[in-house]
């Protein structure tokens, strides 16, 4: 068996620090303030992955609410085998992948809706530059849509891994924990997904001639 090591990252899966354990205890005690804090803390990141996976802000918002309800329903069974964030994302991806499977079964296109930005009713792109030029805005939007389209071409399993690794920054072990697969599967699926995405995004990639 090959030895796999993380050269420059410390991976923490399984340990709950005292502060997080206390927070979980407050959630398990059904404390109002704890649930407010839970929503404040994880609402945005859960929405982001739901949007990237589902491609529609309305569907993502619905999914977010269902995910938090499932967190509440299952919190008493949380034993601290992983971090709270990992556990919440495990529930999130279970819910999101179920939705994708449900849509697929009903012959709904698995590709995402990209109408949001065009219609102006969808989520706006937040630009980091304080005063982006119209050209920068256009390029950013074009790049954004291309990435979303490339993600949409992937299978749900491959898309999950790219989002968790490259957008959310989870480690391989955490991704394996969230998706319930082995670390080797994460590695091979991620390689395959990246190879597929490169084909879709060739014109946005910076490659110097060697």
């Amino acid at each position: 068996m090959r030895r796999e090591i993380a050269l420059n990252e410390l991976e923490r899966v399984g340990a709950l620090d005292a502060q997080e354990a206390e927070f979980v205890a407050r959630l398990q005690a059904n404390e109002d303030a704890a649930y407010d804090e839970l929503v404040r803390t994880y609402n945005t990141s859960v929405f982001h992955v739901a949007y990237r996976m589902l491609g529609d802000s309305g569907d993502a918002a619905d999914a977010v609410q269902d995910i938090f309800v499932k967190v509440f329903r299952n919190i008493k069974g949380f034993r601290g085998d992983s971090s709270l964030k990992t556990w919440i994302f495990r529930i999130a991806f279970s819910e999101i992948l179920n939705r994708l499977r449900w849509w697929k079964r009903r012959f709904r296109s698995s590709t995402v809706s990209l109408d949001d930005d065009r219609s102006g009713s969808g989520p706006a792109i937040h630009l980091r530059a304080p005063s982006p030029s119209p050209l920068q805005v256009l390029e950013s939007r074009e790049r954004e849509e291309a990435i979303q389209q490339a993600l949409a071409k992937l299978s749900g399993e491959h898309r999950s891994i790219v989002i968790l690794r490259d957008i959310e920054g989870f480690s391989y072990n955490e991704i394996a924990d969230i998706l319930g697969v082995s670390c080797g599967t994460v590695k091979s699926r991620l390689a395959r997904a990246r190879t597929d995405m490169k084909k879709s995004l060739t014109r946005f990639l910076t490659i110097q001639r060697v």
Partner: protein, 229 residues
């Protein structure tokens, strides 16, 4: 080093690229890949494209979260967290009434204020006829007290105690617009409620009632209801 580079072919190098950019290869594998790409231009470009792709995807702009999502999620959770059907139903009603509660409270309070002023105005003329020292105002020349915007906000935002029923208080407003006294005329009284009322009313600022353009003392009745959610 040359010997190592020949161990890895292009296919094997391709397999190592994705984990390599995540630092998920062994030291030996990393060295083999580095050696290979230093001699193989196509693989070097492939490795660059992997790195560029990761940077491109990692730099994706976050989507704006819908404004109401956090509130909607909290409301959904609050309904779910109620232990039985009766409470869930009550939470739904509370959640529907919640946006209306604060304006409604203020509306009721201002209506009651008007009634008090009107009542005071109607009874006042007899006193006017009885004595030259006016204690009560004439209706025609009387302007009732009004809450100021900061006061309304303070009433609406201050953390309130758990109220089983609406709390009604009668306040004495000075000619400076400050509350100088109050009495509870409806609802449950407790030390906690008194303390909270004192905190809320201490900084409450009214535009004082006026009679013939001069500020005069007045009475205001306020009602508070608990807003759950």
């Amino acid at each position: 080093m040359k010997a190592i580079s020949h161990i890895v072919g292009c296919d094997a190098a391709m397999e190592l690229m994705s984990p390599f950019i995540d630092s998920m290869v062994t030291t030996e594998e990393a060295e083999r890949l580095r050696s290979h790409v230093s001699e193989c231009a196509p693989c070097a470009r492939q490795l660059q494209s992997f790195i560029s792709l990761r940077n491109l995807v990692a730099g994706v702009e976050p989507m704006a979260v819908p404004e109401d999502l956090q509130l909607d999620t909290r409301l959904r959770l609050s309904r779910e967290r109620r232990p039985n059907d009766r409470n869930r139903w009550q939470a739904r009603v509370d959640n529907i009434l919640k946006p209306l509660a604060v304006p409604a409270v203020m509306g009721v309070a201002l209506s009651l204020m008007g009634i008090v002023v009107l009542f005071g105005g109607l009874v006042a003329p007899r006193e006017v006829q009885a004595t030259p020292n006016l204690d009560g105002p004439l209706v025609a020349t009387y302007e009732p007290p009004r809450t100021t915007t900061p006061t309304i906000k303070r009433f609406g935002r201050t953390m309130s105690p758990e109220l089983d029923q609406a709390l009604s208080i009668q306040t004495e407003v000075s000619d400076k617009g400050l509350i100088v006294d109050y009495s509870i005329i409806g609802g449950t009284r407790s030390a906690h409620v008194d303390q909270w009322l004192q905190e809320v009313l201490l900084l409450a600022q009214f535009r004082p009632a006026t009679s013939w353009g001069n500020p005069v003392p007045s009475r205001v009745i306020l009602s508070f209801v608990n807003v759950r959610g």
